[in-house]
């Protein structure tokens, strides 16, 4: 069955813009208009549902905490202020923050941003590259026990994270890596089952002839992998890299345990102080929303900059 699909779009050609085959536009004109209208109506509803919470985050981020309860129905910010953003960027003193209904704590925003970038970049580089190597071995090389070993690797997907957190934490501590970037990065640096699974499914679709030509020219497997397979898979690798980056960027629990010192504290952990400070207390809502928007902004920007490329590559990540 997979053979019927894969050749249709040879993944070996990743142009930035794919010429649309016999596509939707003509179909739309052939079919009654109301179908398209209905489709767009549905799409717009979905987009609105997707976007509304973001508007609400924005609105709340520009609000004054003590006014939120009293002006619950106000669609505009309740007591417009930039204070929440000032708190996020660490521009207020502890006393000021507390007076605004925020929590204290020093927020060295740019340092934590740098740390997040370092951690997410390192995880993405390592995980994608090493997982690609493993995926190559599982997809392109033939050796006894291959499928069994792959199944074992894949079963790691089902190991509850809570199960491994404490032993991993103790291990990192025993290695003396608490409060270091390697400590933050190592558990997801070498592989994740998802990354291997994802790339393997793609590598399976690459025509063997290309690889073989290279081998005949005397290239080693390692060379073939680096010079042929990886460049040819730029699109799905970009996709995976973006998803990995987002995941790493949003990671909270592990960096909370492992990276507390200022030099390695990442944004999500630092912004954790906007969550509830006392039992049954409520968070600093305005600060939390501002922090969320600010923390998501770098990766949204990354997405916008890489924009079309990523989106198209997602459309290309060949899954058999």
């Amino acid at each position: 069955m997979s053979t019927t699909i894969v050749p249709a779009t040879p993944p070996a050609t990743p142009p930035a813009e794919v010429p649309r085959p016999a596509g939707a536009p003509e179909k739309g004109s052939r079919r009654p208009r109301w179908g398209t209208v209905l489709g767009w109506a549905t799409m717009i509803v979905i987009l609105l549902i997707t976007l509304f919470p973001f508007y609400w985050m924005l609105r709340t981020a520009f609000s004054t905490n003590s006014e939120l309860a009293a002006q619950a129905a106000n669609l505009a910010p309740a007591g417009f202020t930039l204070d929440a953003f000032r708190r996020v960027f660490g521009l207020t003193t502890l006393e000021e923050s507390l007076a605004q209904g925020g929590a204290g704590g020093r927020i060295n925003f740019w340092l934590y941003l740098r740390n997040s970038v370092i951690m997410s970049t390192a995880i993405t580089l390592g995980q994608v590259f090493f997982s690609a190597m493993a995926a190559y071995a599982f997809a392109r090389l033939r050796w006894p026990g291959r499928n069994a070993v792959f199944a074992v690797f894949l079963s790691a997907l089902m190991v509850p994270g809570i199960f491994t957190a404490i032993p991993n934490f103790v291990l990192i501590k025993e290695l003396g890596l608490l409060n270091t970037f390697p400590g933050l990065v190592l558990p997801t640096f070498f592989m994740t089952p998802f990354a291997i699974f994802f790339l393997r499914q793609f590598f399976l679709g690459i025509p063997h002839e290309i690889e073989e030509a290279a081998m005949i020219d005397g290239a080693s497997r390692g060379r073939t992998f680096l010079r042929i397979i990886l460049p040819m898979s730029a699109a799905p690798i970009t996709t995976l890299a973006v998803l990995t980056y987002i995941q790493a960027w949003n990671e909270y629990f592990w960096p909370l345990l492992v990276g507390q010192s200022d030099g390695v504290r990442v944004l999500t952990v630092a912004l954790g102080i906007f969550r509830s400070q006392t039992p049954q207390g409520s968070p600093d809502w305005a600060g939390l929303m501002a922090a969320t928007l600010v923390a998501a902004l770098p990766i949204v920007l990354l997405f916008v900059v890489l924009g079309r490329r990523i989106v198209n590559s997602i459309g290309f990540s060949g899954i058999k």
Partner: protein, 310 residues
């Protein structure tokens, strides 16, 4: 697993007449390529998992050495109403979450394919995934507040009764499932969109020549051809869905009346609240086995249905 076994012969068919390599030909290379991933797998998955399996046979508070108790934890588990409740709640959650999410994701993917190739639309659809789980949960918690949440304010404006989304035992779990649908549907839609892109347009054209309308095309062409993609998507999302935790922890915290005490939350409470790591480990082992079983079942079902499309 099924995906593996189907993929291998497929790859073999794709290169007919190629000279066979020696049986162990690639073994050495493969081992070298697997070194880094194996380090990661053994160190951060296998060893802790095996240790966890051992802890499940002990009475272990983490702060004192484990004491071997045989199968006591498993016996306790069988008789623990909270465990069974948690499994039931989790299963209910997974069905709602995955069911709705998959249907919506397919709908979005098909709409995107038919209506627009706008990168903006796809970007917006992925947007919720940029926000961390916990924060998504808190944002919705805030918006769904009974007294001051904007959703209830809007409901009242259009003349409906406000709803106790997290407080009503019948609503709490569906609400949490919907929140996670909101975060993941775009991400899932994009993966499915990827699969749609790979379907040969000629198939549609052929179907159209046969007089199949759009609905019929969807059922008899799109959906069957999507199955391999759905297999990957479903295995990954179902596995993730079973491990729902953050959203519950910051909103309903297991209540009301245990209606949202999902298995992962229960394990967490046992481990970190009660320092009962031995028993928590036993529950984790069972969860692992259930996930494994579900994944195998899914792969078998998707493979079983492959035959009718070929």
């Amino acid at each position: 697993m099924a995906v593996i076994t189907t993929a291998a012969p497929a790859a073999a068919r794709a290169r007919p007449g190629r000279p066979r390599r020696p049986r162990y030909g690639d073994l050495r290379t493969a081992l070298i390529f697997l070194i880094p991933a194996t380090i990661g797998f053994v160190t951060f998955y296998l060893v802790p998992a095996v240790r966890g399996a051992w802890f499940s046979l002990t009475d272990y508070s983490v702060l004192a050495p484990p004491r071997f108790v045989g199968l006591d934890n498993y016996e306790r588990l069988v008789q623990d109403p909270l465990f069974w409740n948690a499994m039931g709640v989790t299963a209910y959650y997974v069905v709602m979450n995955i069911g709705l999410q998959t249907v919506l994701a397919i709908a979005i993917a098909v709409l995107m394919q038919r209506l627009t190739r706008s990168a903006f639309v796809r970007g917006v659809v992925l947007l919720p995934y940029f926000v961390a789980n916990v924060v998504v949960a808190l944002v919705w918690f805030f918006m769904l507040d009974f007294q001051m949440g904007i959703v209830n304010v809007l409901l009242e404006r259009v003349g409906l009764d406000p709803q106790a989304f997290f407080g009503d035992p019948a609503l709490a779990l569906p609400t949490i499932a919907l929140i996670n649908v909101w975060r993941h549907m775009g991400y899932t839609a994009l993966l499915i969109f990827a699969g749609l892109q790979m379907i040969d347009q000629q198939v549609y054209e052929a179907a159209e020549l046969d007089g199949a309308g759009p609905l019929r095309q969807f059922w008899s062409v799109t959906l069957p051809l999507l199955r391999p993609v759905l297999a990957l998507v479903l295995v990954v999302t179902v596995t993730g869905s079973f491990q729902i935790f953050d959203t519950v922890a910051v909103t309903s915290a297991g209540g009301p009346v245990d209606a949202t005490r999902v298995i992962y939350l229960y394990i967490y409470q046992l481990a970190f609240g009660q320092l009962d790591f031995g028993y928590a480990s036993a529950l984790s082992v069972v969860l692992f086995l259930v996930l494994l079983g579900v994944a195998l079942l899914q792969l078998r079902l998707t493979r079983a249905s492959e035959s009718d499309t070929n």
